[in-house]
Amino acid sequence: MKSAFVTVGTTSFDDLILCVSARENLQIFRSLGYNRLVLQIGRGKVVPEPFSTESFTLDVYRYKESLKEDLQQADLVISHAGAGSCLETLEKGKPLVVVVNEKLMNNHQLELAKQLYKEGYLFYCTCSTLPGLLQSMDLPTLKCYPPGQPEKFSAFLDKVVGLQK
């Protein structure tokens, strides 16, 4: 069972949901060998109709207490550019495609997506270029993401505040 997980975090990203659930794009997923697509739609207004056939299942929901399980089961994650979604996915070692929401003004999330793409940890695109990217991308070329090191922060802080052990 090869599955793809689409997540928009706590935001609404109707363009992405419309894009991935469009018939021609569902066909692309099928042709790439996926037989399950899970859509976490957050605050979005677009709610695709879930369905389940012998060869393909589409699941749709708004929120879950934790996305851990869906991330764990996914073979591919397609996410909005929120840092939380990106980092959680990368830390689980899952291939990640970040879709940038062009309708968001002053899009600071873009900086992180671009940087992580430059360093080879994920692919990124817009809704219009997503179908093309899905068909052309080479997932094994993605590098493994080393987690952050908060212990450096605590060492620094202990020193500057004069904490005695």
Binding site: A83, G84, H108, G148
Partner: protein, 215 residues
């Protein structure tokens, strides 16, 4: 005549204020200590996740921990409770259990117009100062949500008024690779330690501290 007097007093007060601010910002004595009261500003969504990762790396000496969240932010309250319970379980040390959650009105909603933001921020200031004054933390830790501005300004005021010198530590979000957030730009020169997570920012703002990616 009265106007001259009023102007003179106002002028003198302003001078004293600025002088005090300069003294508070300039002098960072490192007094050795065994524990540190923390005030942590938790903004919405990712901000809370990032700050909890930072707090999670700190030892039990950082206690008590006072969390300040926006009053509409139930998700952050849940994350904080969850974090603290897990930590208390793991550490099984009674001191670590001391934490409190305080709520203040948001300084600014996402995409709120800037003019009204001035008023809502002033309102947040009016409510933040008594809170910070009551808690008198040793250190304020924040990472960028608008909620942190009134809190940090209140902490600065505590120093300026000679009540207590509060260490202000600002950690810019990992999302900020090339540019600072608005809170970052404001607090760059008002914080004691300004930590960035990408080298481009360290280059642009040499005053900042760069420790690599810490969340």
């Amino acid at each position: 005549m009265v106007w001259v007097l009023i102007l003179a007093v106002a002028g003198a007060t302003a001078v004293v204020f600025i002088l005090r601010l300069w003294i508070v910002l300039r002098f960072q004595n490192v007094t050795p200590r065994e524990s540190l009261g923390l005030l942590i500003v938790a903004g919405s969504g990712g901000h809370t996740t990032e700050i909890l990762r930072l707090v999670g790396s700190l030892s039990g000496a950082y206690s008590p921990r006072h969390y300040v969240i926006a009053d509409s932010d139930e998700m952050s309250a849940n994350k904080i409770n969850s974090f603290e319970f897990t930590r208390a379980d793991r550490d099984s040390s009674p001191e670590y259990i001391k934490y409190y959650i305080h709520r203040i009105p948001r300084s600014r909603e996402v995409q709120q117009p800037w003019l009204s933001t001035v008023f809502t921020t002033l309102r947040s200031m009016w409510l933040s100062f008594p809170l910070v004054q009551r808690i008198k933390p040793d250190l304020v830790l924040c990472n960028g949500p608008g909620t942190c501005i009134p809190i940090c300004v209140s902490a600065l005021l505590l120093g300026i008024l000679g009540i207590k010198k509060v260490i202000i530590v600002y950690v810019e979000s990992i999302c900020r690779v090339e540019t600072l957030s608005l809170s970052g730009k404001i607090l760059l020169h008002l914080s004691d330690y300004f930590i960035v997570q990408w080298p481009a920012l360290k280059e642009k703002y040499p005053k900042s501290v760069y420790l690599g990616r810490i969340v």
